[in-house]
């Protein structure tokens, strides 16, 4: 007993001294940036801008510029009077110019550094990068730039979202590319959504409009109450969408049948159309739109719908490696949409 009484404290002190977290800094001695902006500086340098929010609604901006991202962050750290902690970075804003040259290096850096959360989101800024980054709206706590993309806050299905780990996966994947939201500084709101950037491997090769992004989100099975306008003065709300892919490898090349099943409810119906008519109309509209996007993506060699995923089990190694270059452009993609109308107000539907 006596020996244990002496041994235990001594051992405990050793453990505490040798392995404790002694270099911790209190939370009020840290800057907690929420947004990290990355653009091109002079001489191919990276220019890093960090947005540090303040509880009173203001924002502090920290800047640094260097050949590598980590050195630029280091320069910021040297300048700052507090520890700069990247663990709360929730949004990476990348300038369009940089995105067109490739973002592999940025994604790699973020994944490698242990303190950045891999759940952070990635977006591309078109237009004036500095104006977007330094944009402040009065009376809004500056965490709103993150809220814009947050599924718990301001996200709508017209906006694509892309998390860091998804970007990393897609950069290295044989069979999938990704869409990144494209924003620019808004007039009265923080951002204005411009559509989605189509990324082929790590490079931005084109854009999708907001309407087209909705289709992409349906393919990713990621939506909450997206609204679609029909030509005939009616608009509907997509409640739920499920997608089934059936992949076949024919002698002519890969062949994919996608069946989209939508559960919709009608929001506006000025011309008093029957449900069946609306369902038919939405089916035609979405099928047409989807085919347009599918064709466009094949021509850009950017598989952001993830069609290649369906072929993984039936491809051999060589086909897998050549998917994006050789096989995806040859893909024969058929898309069919089925629609179910829910929340019917008109109980005498059949009599019409």
């Amino acid at each position: 007993m006596k020996r244990a009484l002496i041994c235990f404290p001594v051992l405990f002190i050793f453990v505490a001294i040798l392995s404790g977290c002694w270099d911790v800094k209190d939370i009020n001695k840290r800057y907690l940036p929420v947004v990290m902006g990355i653009s091109k500086g002079q001489n191919d340098n990276y220019r890093i801008i960090l947005q540090v929010p303040d509880i009173k609604g203001g924002t502090q901006f920290l800047e640094g510029e260097s050949k590598s991202i980590s050195k630029a962050v280091e320069i910021i750290r040297t300048k700052a009077e507090k520890e700069v902690d990247l663990m709360h970075v929730r949004l990476f804003l990348i300038s369009q110019e940089l995105a067109q040259q490739g973002i592999k290096n940025i994604v790699d850096f973020a994944m490698r550094s242990n303190d950045i959360s891999i759940k952070s989101m990635v977006a591309i800024v078109s237009g004036d990068f500095e104006k977007t980054l330094f944009h402040e709206i009065k009376r809004t706590p500056e965490v709103s730039s993150y809220d814009y993309f947050s599924e718990e806050a301001g996200w709508t299905p017209d906006v694509s979202i892309n998390r860091l780990w998804e970007a990393y996966r897609s950069v290295y994947s044989y069979t999938e590319d990704f869409a990144v939201p494209l924003v620019q500084a808004g007039e009265r709101t923080l951002f204005e959504f411009q559509g989605s950037a189509i990324m082929s491997r790590d490079r931005m090769v084109g854009t999708l409009s907001a309407n087209e992004t909705l289709i992409n989100n349906i393919f990713q099975e990621r939506y909450m109450d997206g609204t679609i306008e029909l030509s005939s003065d009616a608009s509907i709300l997509i409640k739920k969408a499920t997608i089934r892919n059936k992949a076949r490898w024919r002698s002519s090349g890969p062949n994919l049948q996608s069946r989209i099943h939508l559960v919709i409810s009608i929001l506006e119906n000025k011309n008093e159309k029957t449900n069946a008519e609306i369902a038919l109309e939405i089916k035609g509209l979405l099928e047409k739109r989807a085919h347009v996007i599918s064709d466009k993506l094949r021509s850009l060699k950017a598989d952001i719908l993830g069609n290649g995923q369906a072929f993984r089990p039936i491809m051999n190694d060589q086909q897998l490696k050549n998917w994006k270059e050789t096989w995806f452009p040859q893909l024969n993609h058929q898309i069919t949409v089925t629609v179910n109308v829910r929340d019917n107000q008109d109980y005498k539907e059949e009599m019409k």
């Binding site: 505490a16 392995s19 404790g20 977290c21 911790v24 800094k25 209190d26 939370i27 009020n28 840290r30 907690l32 929420v34 929010p53 303040d54 509880i55 902690d85 663990m87 709360h88 929730r90 303190d115 959360s117 706590p141 965490v143 993150y146």
Partner: protein, 433 residues
């Protein structure tokens, strides 16, 4: 009376009791007898005794004159009679002065649902209270006199049909083995029962309420009553006693479950909240949502020292307030609480000595601590809180997990009185039936 006439034992007795101011001898004649009565004035009612002398003499016992225990008899409240013409002393049981408090309502607890009578200092009265509550044939009350210098009556009270046989056997064996040890207080009793000296949770429940104690007996506990000690100690305590009171059973089932859930949450809260404050502030702020992180950082703005120092300082102040108010008379207690509340709650935050979030955290922790049933149970948890706090300050969230895990392992290893502490009930195997 002439001293020369006194017997040898009388002289011896007077010499032994020389230092007792309340030792008296009085000589009087009753009928044709001349008799001398030796007694302690503080324990014996002389007038009543003399009045009843005839019947008392009839029940007297005659002791050998050489017996040295005459002084001991006096201390137990007996009186010694010397009849002239009879050489041996007669020991009688006189009418005692009443030195006992009546049965009153409890002083240290507030029973919500249940009987209001509480134990007194008198051992027999206490056993009587229990007997009245439990009219059962298998009610067992075994008396032991312990001690060599101090004689103290200890009663082991239990229900043969409900109790765990191992527990009774264990306690009887220890009582028989260590009978010679003096029992001045509960700590001596625990030593006598060979309980671990240092323990985070007590191995007994102490209660002033006869109702609660009777219910504890029904639940299979063994009650130890000590003479001149108005609390019943129920052995052994199990983990369930941290959150369940027997008087809960006087409430509807749903309400009882609710109470118990709250108390279990209270245990967790009281341990975890100060540690979490340090963890979220210093070691792992990434666990906070950004909005919360900002307001936490804001509340700590201007506080000059690290959060562990801040927490220790405030915890110490809180402990001081608890310790200072607990024994104060009812008139002055609220004053201190008010001063403490103002100093701790307002001024210390305005002086930027601690963050106001910490005040909330600590208040939550101490309120949660007092939801645990029985004051004696709360203290171990209060002590353990510091262990968890220091581990958290060093190792972050991992340290807190390790501390909680260690606490569970520690409790699992406890086996006071041959029953595992983590048992959820004590119902015996009714070996006595």
């Amino acid at each position: 009376m002439n001293d020369l006439k006194k017997a040898k034992w009388e002289l011896q007795l007077m010499e032994q009791m020389e230092t007792s101011a309340d030792f008296r001898s009085s000589t009087f004649s009753a009928g044709d007898h001349q008799m001398t009565l030796y007694y302690l004035k503080s324990l014996v009612d002389l007038n009543e005794t003399v009045g009843m002398m005839k019947s008392l003499l009839g029940q007297s016992t005659q002791a050998a004159p050489s017996s040295v225990d005459l002084a001991g008899c006096l201390l137990e409240g007996k009186a010694i009679v010397s009849l002239n013409g009879l050489d041996a002393p007669l020991i009688i049981t006189p009418v005692e002065l009443v030195l006992n408090r009546p049965i009153m309502s409890p002083q240290t607890v507030q029973p919500l649902q249940g009987a209001f009578d509480s134990f007194t200092e008198n051992l027999d009265a206490n056993i009587g209270l229990l007997r009245k509550k439990l009219k059962r044939k298998d009610f067992a009350a075994e008396a032991y006199t312990t001690g060599t210098n101090t004689h103290r009556e200890i009663a082991l009270v239990y229900l043969k049909g409900a109790v765990h046989k191992n527990v009774v056997d264990f306690m009887k064996q220890k009582l028989a083995k260590n009978r010679a040890a003096d029992v001045h207080n509960v700590s001596d009793l625990l030593k006598l029962l060979e309980q671990p000296r240092i323990s985070l949770v007590p191995s007994y429940l102490s209660s002033e309420l006869s109702e609660e104690t009777a219910q504890n007996m029904l639940a299979g506990k063994v009650i130890v009553l000590i003479d001149q000690f108005p609390f019943a100690l129920a052995f052994p305590a199990i983990i369930k006693d941290l959150w369940s009171l027997r008087s809960d059973l006087n409430n509807p089932v749903l309400f009882r479950l609710f109470y118990r859930f709250i108390r279990i949450a209270g245990i967790l809260f009281s341990i975890v909240t100060p540690s979490l404050y340090v963890i979220l502030n210093a070691v792992n702020p990434e666990l906070l949502r950004i909005q919360l992180a900002l307001s936490v950082a804001e509340s700590r703005e201007g506080v000059p020292y690290p959060s562990i120092v801040e927490v220790c300082l405030m915890l110490l102040l809180f402990e001081l307030v608890i310790e200072a108010t607990i024994r104060l008379p009812k008139g002055i207690g609220p004053t201190l609480t008010m001063i403490g509340g103002i100093i701790l709650g307002q001024a210390i935050v305005q002086a930027h000595l601690v963050s106001n979030l910490l005040i909330i955290i600590l208040a939550a922790s101490s309120i949660a601590n007092f939801t645990i049933t029985g004051y004696i149970n709360t203290i171990g948890i209060r002590i353990f809180k510091y262990g968890a706090l220091f581990l958290s300050a060093i190792f972050g969230i991992f340290g807190l997990e390790a501390a909680l895990l260690w606490f569970c392992v520690y409790l699992a290893g406890l086996k006071p009185l041959s029953v595992s502490y983590l048992s959820l009930h004590l119902k015996g195997n009714s070996a006595y039936d």
